[in-house]
């Protein structure tokens, strides 16, 4: 079984890898590019821990093959901060204690960032539904929703 050579961009960096066509983008990010910030919680698109954006579109990297990444722009949790400057969402998640174990956090941050880019003023209900595909078992979502809503408010004030 021959492997495919894939050239793509992750967090702005040009990268290449070889993959079996059965390997998912998640497998490739983690095992070939050492970007282990993106997590596998289910492998069936039900938990959102593997959330990334592809061409600006929020997807589960476990539901996309590595070969499909050819020529695409991919953003992961590792690309959210700008150098040593945390993204406002990252700061708020720490400030609000919006994480406990932290394994869902990368996916939730990627998803929440995508929300705020599309909708700078989401209601609580919109935020909850947007994040419904990101399971968190620790927090009951309360502090997560508050952190996202407050980040949105802060970003609106700043702009």
């Amino acid at each position: 079984m021959s492997k495919f050579h894939v050239s793509t961009q992750v967090n702005g960096d040009a990268v290449e890898f070889l993959c079996d066509p059965r390997e998912t983008l998640l497998d490739c990010l983690r095992d070939k590019l050492n970007l282990t910030g993106t997590k596998e919680g289910c492998g069936t698109g039900d938990c959102g821990a593997c959330s990334v954006t592809v061409e600006g579109r929020l997807v589960c990297s476990c539901l996309m093959l590595g070969v499909e990444a050819e020529g695409k722009q991919i953003e992961t949790v590792e690309g959210i901060a700008d150098g040593d400057m945390l993204h406002p969402l990252q700061k708020k998640f720490i400030e609000y204690a919006a994480l406990q174990c932290g394994v869902c956090t990368p996916g939730i941050l990627v998803a929440a960032k995508s929300l705020l880019e599309k909708n700078p003023n989401p209601t609580e209900e919109e935020t909850r539904y947007w994040l419904a595909g990101n399971l968190c078992r620790c927090t009951g979502y309360d502090k997560i929703i508050r952190a996202v809503m407050d980040t949105a408010a802060e970003l609106r004030e700043a702009s």
């Binding site: 596998e40 720490i94 174990c101 990368p106 935020t127 909850r128 419904a132």
Partner: protein
């Protein structure tokens, strides 16, 4: 009662600083179980039984072994045959090994049969298909009541311990009975007696991070293990036993843990990865799929319960009896005793009797899940209390206050309570605006109390000071709820140096003494107590060094706000000496300064909570929405209130899932039908309201700062509180969990 209204005698404790692991966790740098890699690493995969109960006639792995990508295949024969089998829980080493890798029989759908290590994860998965297993399928049973019936298939002869009365089915492996007074006399005194039966299905802890490990074991018997676990000393001990090596030769490092809730207090894949590594002589990484997590790791027990309670017209409970049957999978260990002891624990009862059964069935070995056993018992007991209140026209909080246990109450399970905070939580509930808020048509309000013992456990902590005055704290309890933050706060409180100057590390098994698992809500209590004592130990040395520098007796120096100061006017007139001035030249004044503490603290302090919930039921579809939720719980003393609230909210959310939608669904064939998150329905963000919290602080006399563990009690009241709310909203009493829409709609129809 809110924290912010109290004047604190603490400088650090009770504040809300950023957690030390926050940056790593928001940037993706934090390393969890599956995030470790090693040079030359192989990938493992496990072959699992498709049968609920089957004799393993033959395993032919020759084709897999012959495959070029496969470097090792292991079966039960590759593990130690030494772990002793004794009946009941005493044979836990043997039970754990038998669960890790099946012996003569596959005991449940998903039971591990064999494992391979290959050059890639795909190759390992493919190689499993090359292993041929011949099974003799046996009759199976998955339901608790059926497993106790005379004609039930026997899971394992001789597994019952001494406690089981003669004549019971061999699947009943432990029996518990306790109480005091005369329940029949109590029922005779009552104006109303209600007797009812309840059932709950097994639920899974549902941590988002699947089990994962990286293992290396040489044929010299020396090994390294990296794994996601709530207790790496436990992993060390049980892996060593399963592999037949010396405990001290295996160094275990706990990764960041992506949720556990009790489910990561044991081992599953870790001994398998070590066995594969020993055989292949290369590091082996093993990561479970979600489906494997559901099929083969610890769900909680399912339960069948009969409750009988008598009450006077004024709300006094005159007698209470509970029979609690818990199914815990194909091994002893279902917490029937815990369920029995916790159900009536919130109440001051004259006549009470409780019986618990530990029953085996063809399901995965149950593992602890947040106050193991307690939520089911509370569901049954608090539902009957609610029904009594309704029938007698009494306010459910008033009735609970009337019967509430307090300091000096002889608990239903034996001991006499010290200072406890149940009454305070009930009073806070009654005073909370939620309890008086109006309800819309179709909505109902429910309340429930809940109890958990809390635990101490074996604990070691080490604290070392650096020359620059910073401190490193080594604790042995994996951080499952923000404990590095609370440990640093407690150490800062004693040392008097800033929180940020303390680095807390979860030490590996080679660098600290034994630590019990992070369970039993014990970490903030026990590791916290040990941290305080270790810091005080270091402070004693700091005072001694200051005394030497000043040329005065050691006992003439005391510690205040991070400085050594003379203890009185007679000790001499010296300026306060800051910690960093003492550590700067500690090498010359007597050597490195550290503090240690090892003990098994016994004063964990029992915990109570009261929850209020509003639910709305769609009468046409039976769908329940949780509209409002308030958690009120005694924390003793909240060290980092954010993480106390987080525990309250997380416990409530898990309880909501258990009450409404989560369940293990087995088919007629004994196979688990819903082993993915699509069909094992944990609450999603849009399912829940904000979860309000009230931290009650009734200090625990057994902890220097008054801490009571808070992790587990929060999941005890929700099942009953929601059942009571649904009952008030829909006008039907729900006796079976989950209260899924088909069950509620059927109950509504039955009710006319």
């Amino acid at each position: 009662m809110a924290l912010d209204d109290r004047k604190s005698e603490f400088n650090f404790v009770g504040t809300r600083p950023d957690r030390p692991d926050g940056l790593d966790k928001v940037t993706g740098r934090a390393k969890f179980g599956a995030d470790a890699y090693a040079p030359g690493m192989l990938h493992g995969a496990i072959l699992r039984s498709p049968h609920a109960h089957a004799r393993i006639i033959k395993i032919d792995a020759s084709k897999a072994e012959a495959h070029k990508d496969v470097k090792a295949v292991v079966t039960r024969a590759d593990f130690s045959d030494k772990p002793e089998f004794k009946p009941g829980l005493e044979g836990e080493f043997w039970n754990v090994l038998e669960n890790v890798m099946a012996g003569e029989k596959a005991l449940y759908d998903g039971h591990a049969i064999a494992a391979v290590a290959a050059t890639s994860a795909l190759a390992a998965r493919d190689a499993l298909k090359l292993i041929e297993v011949e099974y003799e399928v046996l009759p199976h049973v998955t339901d608790v009541d059926k497993a106790m019936a005379p004609d039930a298939p026997v899971i394992r002869e001789g597994a019952a311990d001494y406690s089981v009365p003669a004549g019971m089915h061999p699947n009943v492996v432990r029996y518990h009975e306790s109480g005091h007074g005369e329940v029949e006399a109590g029922f005779a005194e009552a104006d109303l007696v209600i007797e009812d039966s309840f059932a709950t299905e097994a639920t899974h802890q549902g941590y988002i991070e699947p089990h994962a490990c990286l293992a290396m074991l040489g044929n010299d018997g020396k090994g390294e293990l990296w794994c996601t676990t709530q207790g790496h000393w436990y992993a060390q001990k049980y892996c060593a036993a399963a592999l037949g090596i010396e405990t001290a030769q295996l160094r275990v490092t706990a990764s960041e843990i992506g949720g556990g809730f009790g489910g990561k207090t044991t081992v599953f894949i870790e001994p398998v990865a070590l066995a594969l590594s020993r055989k292949a002589n290369r590091p082996v990484k093993l990561v479970m799929s979600r489906s494997e997590v559901f099929r083969a790791t610890g769900p909680t027990s399912s339960a069948s319960m009969d409750i009988k309670i008598g009450m006077k017209k004024d709300g006094t409970i005159t007698g209470a009896q509970g029979i609690f049957r818990l199914q815990g999978g194909a091994f002893p260990g279902a917490p029937g005793d815990m369920t029995a002891m916790c159900g009536f624990a919130p109440y001051n009862l004259t006549n009470v009797r409780q019986v618990g059964y530990d029953v085996m069935a063809n399901r995965p070995k149950q593992a602890a899940y947040r106050a193991p056993g307690a939520p089911m018992g509370a569901f049954a007991v608090e539902s009957v209390i609610d029904e009594l209140c309704k029938k007698l026209g009494l306010d459910p909080i008033d009735v609970r206050l009337k019967n509430a246990a307090h300091e000096g109450t002889k608990a239903n399970y034996g001991p006499t309570y010290e200072r406890i905070g149940l009454v305070e939580t009930l009073e806070a509930a009654k005073a909370h605006p939620h309890y008086a808020a109006p309800l819309k048509p179709g909505q109902g309000r429910g309340i429930s109390c809940g109890f958990w013992f809390n635990h101490g456990g074996e604990t070691s902590v080490s604290l070392a000071l650096s020359e620059d005055g910073s401190a490193q704290l080594m604790v042995g309890t994996p951080d499952i709820g923000g404990s590095r933050a609370s440990m640093a706060l407690m150490a800062a409180e004693v040392l008097g140096i800033p929180y940020e100057n303390i680095r807390v590390t979860i030490a590996d098994t080679a660098t600290l003494g034994y630590n019990d698992v992070s369970h039993g809500s014990r970490v903030t209590y026990a590791s916290g107590l040990a941290t305080i004592k270790a810091a005080k130990h270091a402070v004693e040395k700091l005072c001694e060094r200051a005394a030497v520098k000043w040329g005065i007796p050691g006992d003439a120096v005391k510690w205040e706000d991070g400085c050594a100061v003379p203890s009185g006017p007679n000790a001499g007139d010296f300026d306060p000496m800051p910690l960093a001035d003492i550590t700067a030249d500690m090498g010359a004044t007597g050597g490195p300064i550290s503090g240690h503490f090892e003990a098994t603290p016994e004063g964990a302090g029992v915990s109570f909570g009261t929850h209020i919930v509003d639910a709305e039921v769609d009468p046409e579809t039976g769908k329940t929405s949780v509209i409002r939720y308030t958690v009120i719980q005694d924390a003793g003393k909240a060290i980092h209130p954010d993480y106390v609230e987080g525990q309250f909210q997380g416990g409530a959310a898990q309880g909501i899932g258990w009450a409404l939608n989560e369940e293990y669904v087995y088919g007629e064939d004994g196979r688990l039908q819903n082993s993915i998150f699509l069909d094992y329905r944990i609450p999603v963000a849009s399912d829940l309201p904000m979860i309000d919290t009230v931290i009650v602080e009734v200090p625990n006399p057994g902890h220097p700062f008054g801490v009571r563990g808070v992790g587990e009690t929060g999941i005890v009241p929700p099942l009953a509180a929601i059942a009571n709310a649904v009952s008030n909203a829909a006008g039907v009493r729900m006796r079976q969990l989950p209260m899924s829409p088909p069950r509620i709609l059927a109950a509504l129809k039955e009710n006319g």
